[in-house]
Every structure is written in structure tokens, then in C-alpha cells.
């Protein structure tokens, strides 16, 4: 019993002057159009989102109503920045269990309706609020501490981190759904203002509004589609949220465990991956991902970007949709956004960003600072 993806939709990421349910409508309609289905053909709507950014409470109920999904079941799945990868894994399980045949998985996040003071207050509660937040820790601050540790252990440089930003903006410039469709230079990245040393503004992804949707179904229905894409491996794992309780700070341990599970289920090795989307919430995070996913040896991540191994034409092209860095990071939408891009690559529909002959695509979606990680593998 396999689960297949038959429909995809992806809205424009960025500052969007629409409500959260209006944001959800765009990729939902696109995904239904893509597979020629109607709401009546769906058994459920599973929404991935991080509720603390929304004024609207009980999000999935409101979204289901707006999408014309009543009286079909809906519920919210939350795993911070990995919420919609968790929603996708949940849909897969329901389908494999035979409870639902066809499910719409929607990742959606409206982040920019909050005022600056509200955002600053949320920013102050990213970490363990009992033992860390009282010292003024921030999201960039945590990854900055990982970066300093990685620089210390492996000699990783700020220039290597900037090279990640340059690459992802290069590809994002070709992605019409990206928040920032523009190239940047390493000089500009390195000279941008400091956010949390050693990370500057261009090392950080941006908050965004955005939504993405996919229609997943059982093997029998998927086989009728022109180009079904199969969910081949699903891995997830956790690690301590607190950096005070994490043994190593130069890796995301949940990513290592999630990747191992996903590779095992898919029956593949890292070298079999043709194209990957990884969670580059900060440039250092992409370098950690190369290592945690086994694309290179421990400590080799900086060299991997420097030598162009993750560009198109390189050994494993990574984030050729622009990544979080260029697309923007609407927290709950990011997981499905990665999966939609993977499906485009596997169908051969990625246009200028196409990796020729891609058969196996991997998504690496980290929640928070690594308290959750989902690694999902799709194949033709």
C-alpha cells in the first residue's frame, strides 16, 4: 500500500493583504484543478500551521468552511516550523490505514498581521521560557550559537554561509512564488547588518504569509493519475528543545534520526537523492543539513557549498526553489511548500530550475530549533 501525490498548489509567499482563509483558498483551488477533483472527492482536510501567529482561533475549522469543505472532517497539526510536514505524515498514515482514501493537506501561515511589538514578544518566547528566554535569547541567536560552535569545531567560515544565501537567492530569482525574486552578492550579504553574531540579515530567512496545498490519495486512485508521485519514506524525530540539554550544538540531532528513518523506509542511501529541499531558516542551517542528512561527512558542509556541489549540475542540488531564504518562511506552509517543489521536480515541471531526470526528492523540515524534524522522501 503506497500513498501517492496527485495534485499540487502553491500560493505567492510574501506580504499578502488577505485573510488566512483567503490565503489558503489559492493553493487549494490550484491543487484541485491540478488533479481534476472536487471537494466532494476529498475525505478530509488536514491543516498544518503554527497557531500563535494568528488572530483567528480554531484555524482549521475556519479554513475548512471557507474552502467549502463542510461537513468533511478537519483538524490542525502543529510542529512549529514543521507543522505541514507533520500534517503530510498524518495524512499518509490515515490513507495507509484505509480510514481515508483522499486527503487535502494544507500548509498555511499568516505572519504579517501581527504588530511589531507582538512579533518582538513572540520572538522572546522561542526558546525554553523557564530557563533561557529570561536571558533574551532569540531565534537567530540560537542558530548563531550553532554557527559559532560549527566554526570552532570545523573551521566553517562566514563566507561559506554567505554562499548559501547567494545560491538560494540565485534560484529564488527564478521562482515566481518566492518573496524575494532577486540575486544577491556575497559582498552585500557579508556587509549587511548584524542580527546575532556571526549571523547578519542575509543569513536569516524572513517571516512571510503563504500557503501551499497537496492532494494525496491511496495507491489505486493515484495509479489513475498521469504522473503520480509516491511517498517513499517518512522519518521524524525529536531532540531537546533546550540548548542546555542538548549534547552537541554543531548538529540538529533530530534531523540525523529522522533522516535515518526516512532512508530506511525508502530503501535508499543519501547518494540516491537527486534533489533536496532543506530547512535553511538560517544559512548555517543548510550547512548543518548537508551533514545531518549524510550528503557529506561531518564538518564538510562548508566545503560542499563552496565547491558548488549543491548547485544544479552539482552532486545533490539543494533548495533550487530558493529555499526559505528566498521564498520566505510562512512557518506552517513551509513543509508542504517543500513537498510541492519536490513534486514539480519529479514531474519534470520545474522549468528553469529543473534538475534533469530527478527520480528521488528529499524534504528536510525542522521545527523550532530542532525539537522536531521531519524528513520525507518522494519518488516517481
Amino acid at each position: 500500500m503506497r500513498t501517492g501525490v496527485i495534485g499540487i498548489g502553491h500560493g505567492k509567499f510574501g506580504r499578502r493583504e488577505v485573510t488566512v482563509q483567503e490565503l489558503a483558498f489559492e493553493p487549494f483551488r490550484e491543487a484541485l484543478d491540478d488533479c481534476g477533483l472536487h471537494q466532494k472527492d476529498l475525505d478530509a482536510l488536514i491543516v498544518g500551521s503554527s497557531p500563535e501567529y494568528h488572530r483567528q482561533r480554531s484555524l482549521s475549522g475556519v479554513v475548512a468552511e471557507y474552502l467549502g469543505m463542510n461537513p468533511k472532517p478537519t483538524f490542525l497539526v502543529e510542529a512549529a516550523c514543521a507543522s505541514s510536514s507533520a500534517a503530510l505524515a498524518t495524512a499518509d498514515a490515515y490513507i495507509r490505514a484505509g480510514i481515508y482514501d483522499t486527503v487535502a493537506v494544507l500548509g498555511v501561515q499568516k505572519m504579517l498581521e501581527l504588530s511589531t511589538p507582538e512579533i518582538l514578544a513572540l520572538m522572546g518566547r522561542v526558546g525554553d521560557v523557564q530557563w533561557e528566554s529570561g536571558f533574551g535569547t532569540t531565534f537567530p541567536g540560537y542558530y548563531a550559537m550553532f554557527a559559532h560552535r560549527h566554526m570552532y569545531e570545523y573551521g566553517t567560515t562566514r563566507e561559506q554561509m554567505a554562499a548559501v544565501a547567494v545560491k538560494n537567492h540565485h534560484y529564488g530569482a527564478k521562482n515566481p512564488n518566492a518573496m524575494f525574486q532577486k540575486e544577491i552578492t556575497a559582498e552585500k550579504a557579508l556587509a549587511s547588518r548584524m542580527v546575532a553574531s556571526p549571523l547578519t540579515l542575509y543569513d536569516c530567512c524572513a517571516n512571510a504569509d503563504g500557503a501551499a496545498c497537496m492532494i494525496v490519495t491511496n495507491e489505486e486512485t493515484a495509479k489513475k493519475a498521469d504522473t503520480p508521485i509516491w511517498m517513499a519514506g517518512l522519518g521524524s524525530a525529536t531532540a531537546p528543545m533546550s540548548v542546555l540539554r542538548r549534547e552537541k550544538l554543531s548538529e540538529i540531532p533530530s534531523a540525523i534520526d529522522a533522516a535515518r528513518n526516512a532512508y530506511k523506509m525508502a530503501g535508499i542511501e543519501p547518494k540516491d537523492v537527486d534533489v533536496a529541499d532543506v530547512h535553511d531558516c538560517f544559512t548555517i542551517a543548510e550547512i548543518l543539513a548537508y551533514e545531518d542528512l549524510g550528503f557529506c561527512e561531518k564538518g564538510g558542509g562548508g566545503k560542499m557549498i563552496e565547491e558548488g556541489e549543491t548547485h544544479i549540475g552539482g552532486r545533490i542540488p539543494v533548495n533550487v526553489d530558493g529555499g526559505l531564504k528566498s521564498k520566505g518562511h510562512p512557518v506552517g506552509a513551509t513543509g508542504v511548500s517543500m513537498a510541492v517543489e519536490a513534486v514539480k521536480q519529479l514531474r519534470g515541471e520545474a522549468g528553469e530550475r529543473q534538475v534533469d531526470g530527478a527520480e528521488v526528492a528529499l524534504m528536510h523540515n525542522v521545527g523550532g530549533i530542532g525539537q522536531y524534524c521531519f524528513v520525507n522522501i518522494l519518488r516517481r
Binding site: 522572546g124 536571558f135 533574551g136 559559532h148 546575532a196
Partner: protein, 134 residues
């Protein structure tokens, strides 16, 4: 947590003995009476043996710098403090804590010895301060 940290997010916890110990200048961890594991940050439930019998143990205030960052874009409540440098310290005797640097970021080297002390902040709050050792 009690009076630790510049901003208080957590009004209640089983770890309610820490405030008095901080006032006495003690950097304290908890130890499970059953399995003897030491917890810093302190906690009153042991995840190893699922026991709830804990005792306080004091640390020397010496440790090793694990990593650090200087926060320039500050969250709510810290706007007037930025830039400030956060250090993670592995404390001798077990456990890790986060503290503010007393000194310059340029002088920090990961792996160096540091000492940790407690300082008063306005409104009776207290914070761990980290000083590099010569």
C-alpha cells in the same frame, strides 16, 4: 522562573527553592536521590527513573564556554540592553547554564575556562554573569 532572568515568563514551577539559593549567591542544580543524576537547569522530576525525590546541590561556578552570540536584534523587554552577549557554559559538576557576558565578545574563545556569578538586576531580578578566566 522566580527571580532568575531579566523577564519572567513562568509564574509557577516545582523548582521553587531556587530563588532563596540565588539570593545566597548559590548556583544550584538538583540531584535525583535515586539515580544520582544531576540536573542543571534544575528540575524536580527525574526523567531517567521517573522518581520525584530530588535534592539541591551547589556548583562551584566554574565552567567551560560552549558557544556564544551577541544579540543585536533584541526581543520585547531587552530593547535597551542590546547588544548583549549570551554565553552557554558547561558547569563543572554537571549541567549547563546560559549567562550574560561580562566583557568583550572579541575576547571569547570557545573551550576557554570561565567563571559564573550572580548579579542583581532592577526590580529584584537576578541573572547569571559569565567572566572569562585569564
Amino acid at each position: 522562573m522566580g527571580k532568575l532572568g531579566k523577564v519572567d515568563f513562568v509564574p509557577f514551577s516545582k523548582v521553587d527553592g531556587i530563588e532563596e539559593r540565588l539570593k545566597e549567591g548559590k548556583i544550584s542544580a538538583t540531584r535525583c536521590k535515586k539515580c544520582k543524576n544531576i540536573y542543571l537547569p534544575p528540575r524536580m522530576d527525574c526523567p531517567e527513573c521517573l522518581d520525584e525525590e530530588m535534592e539541591w546541590v551547589d556548583c562551584e561556578g566554574k565552567g567551560t564556554l560552549v558557544t556564544y552570540t551577541t544579540i543585536h536584534a533584541a526581543p520585547a523587554g531587552f530593547e535597551d540592553d542590546a547588544p548583549y552577549t549570551i554565553c552557554l557554559v558547561d558547569v563543572e559538576g554537571g549541567g549547563r547554564l546560559v549567562g550574560w557576558l561580562d566583557g568583550k565578545e572579541e575576547d571569547l574563545k570557545i573551550g576557554m575556562g570561565v567563571s559564573v556569578g550572580i548579579r542583581d538586576l532592577p526590580e529584584e531580578r537576578m541573572i547569571y554573569f559569565v567572566t572569562p578566566e585569564e
